[in-house]
């Protein structure tokens, strides 16, 4: 069993390396800016969803408030940059640390809640964050922050003429989130999380530190999502509360993981690879009318996929015999 598990993990790592190499090579063939844009967003959401999956998938604490950390990452970076001239690279780290600390601060009261009460609390806290930023004059309030354009520079992580640096950063982010998940999956934490998810009371009785393992998952998850938020802010170079902290981000982070397979290593990547291009294409094809056809198509797809494959798309690949035991 152990040997099989180790072999599977090695295989996962090799597949990931091959996929990353293929992804890294795509810009050589894909020159179209619209397509590059879709690829960047796909990689970004794959990374975000992977990070969300750590807390909500592996540890089972369904959060629909991760937009808070996304927004905090974006705002920390840009406030530091525009007000104090701190380079976005440091801002990114700062955003991650701030988010992780806030996640742990919130975790202290939140992790006592269970089920719907927890989910609603996460939605509500993100909404509070959104409203506060809406009214915070110093942070631009509802107007948001426009990032001053200073020309292409790696130092300021700002590029006007090419999207390639963004592409590679999104790829690195996605790989990082994947690798962290892969690494944690086999660590003490990974096993604890799955135990907490399946039955917190039983886990506690067997000596699992339930509370701290939830805190750990929340911190890692929030840190990575905040880095994603910083990246997004640099990428679109304009942020306002609605566009980085809105409820839709919380859902967009959760959706790929749910569609691909929640609590699995490959689910978020697979889900994002299918969902994000689909979203962008429907918006591109039908969105121009302004009559909501893109919403109709998109919503119908979500309903159909979640009804048809409750375990996510990954369940199509697993052998039926193993679905019960291996997860």
């Amino acid at each position: 069993m152990d040997k099989e598990f180790a072999a599977r993990r090695r295989r996962d790592l090799i597949i990931a390396a091959v996929l990353a190499a293929i992804a890294a090579a795509t810009p050589l063939f894909v020159k179209d800016v619209v397509v590059q844009n879709i690829l960047i967003l796909t990689l970004m959401y794959a990374g975000l969803s992977q990070s969300w999956n750590i807390l909500s998938g592996y540890c089972g604490q369904i959060s629909l408030g991760h937009a808070l950390y996304f927004g905090l990452g974006a705002y920390t970076t840009e406030l530091l940059f525009t007000k104090f001239g701190v380079l976005p690279w440091f801002g990114m780290l700062a955003g991650g640390v701030v988010s992780a600390l806030i996640a742990m601060g919130l975790g202290y009261p939140f992790f006592r809640l269970r089920g719907h009460y927890f989910v609603i609390a996460t939605i509500v806290i993100a909404e509070i964050g959104l409203l506060l930023f809406h009214n915070w004059e110093w942070a631009g309030a509802a107007m948001g922050i426009t990032i001053p354009i200073r020309g292409d520079s790696w130092l300021k992580f700002q590029f006007l003429r090419t999207k390639l640096p963004y592409f590679y950063f999104a790829l690195v982010l996605c790989c990082l989130a994947w690798f962290v998940t892969w690494w944690l999956e086999n660590s003490k934490w990974g096993f604890w999380w799955r135990a907490v998810k399946d039955n917190p009371d039983a886990a506690e009785s067997l000596g699992v530190d339930v509370f701290n393992s939830k805190m750990g998952a929340a911190a890692v998850s929030a840190f990575l999502v905040a880095v994603g938020g910083s990246f997004y802010a640099q990428f679109v170079s304009y942020i306002d509360p609605e566009s980085v902290m809105g409820f839709q981000f919380s859902l967009l982070m959760a959706l790929p993981a749910v569609l691909g397979g929640i609590g699995t290593l490959w689910g978020p990547v697979l889900g994002a690879a299918i969902l994000i291009p689909l979203t962008e294409l429907t918006r591109f094809k039908f969105g121009g009318s302004g009559r909501g056809v893109d919403l109709i198509v998109y919503g119908t797809l979500i309903v159909l996929i979640s009804l048809a494959l409750p375990r996510g798309l990954l369940s199509l690949f697993s052998r039926p015999k193993k679905t019960g035991a291996a997860r």
Partner: protein, 277 residues
Amino acid sequence: MGLLYGLIAVGLALIFGLMDVTNFAHGEFLMIAMYLSFFLFAFFAIDPLLSAPLVAAALFVFGAVIYLLIVRFAMRAKANAGMVQIFTTFGLAIVMRGLAQFFFTPDYRSIPQSWLGGKTVSIAGIFLPEPQLFGALVSILAFAGLYFFIHRTDFGRALEATREDPGAVALVGIDKNRVFAFGWGLGAALVGLAGAIMASFFYIYPDVGASFALIAYVTVALGGFGSVFGAFAGGIIVGLVEATTALVLPPSLKSVGIYAVYLLVVFIRPRGLFGSI
């Protein structure tokens, strides 16, 4: 205003609270109801007050059909049922919003003249807008009705029993789908009532539901899942908190007070004020 939140929440209290089915499309039900009473007014000049029963009846059918066509299958999922319900109903909400945009355009609409709109009543020197007052009245009646219904009729007992153990109720001859379809219809009819009343003093647009939906979830959770009285109390608290917050903070922050009170309550009582689940 609190009782109006209560009225929106009462339907959700039934679906989300009592049947334990996550419904992220609740706000869109409200939106549909508002449009319905708008069109009844625009084409047939039926006052929203008169059309309220019609709208409620239409929403009853709509809710039951949605349950039978979609939600029934979402509940059948063996793995992560919670997530499947969340995303199925969320997808449904997006579709409904899209359809509303498609057929009704994203324009803001309102009912300019109705029996209640814009009039105020003075009680002991305090001026109260009539529509809100009427809404409050309907809300109290709706809660009383639902309370009686759940606790005093066979159907109410069947509903609670079905949530507790669908397998066991099947053994005693209760058809789970019939009970739940009726419950969904009833929940939708109640939000239909809310929509019809609100149509006479609120702007109507495809995204209108979203702003009320979150407050409705908070109201239900604040009161505690599984308790009709809890949702009623939750509605009143939410209304009072909102009004008080608006006095001390800028109006755009008034919802923060509601959310903060929710967090405070569940930290002290993790199952809401009167929750049983």
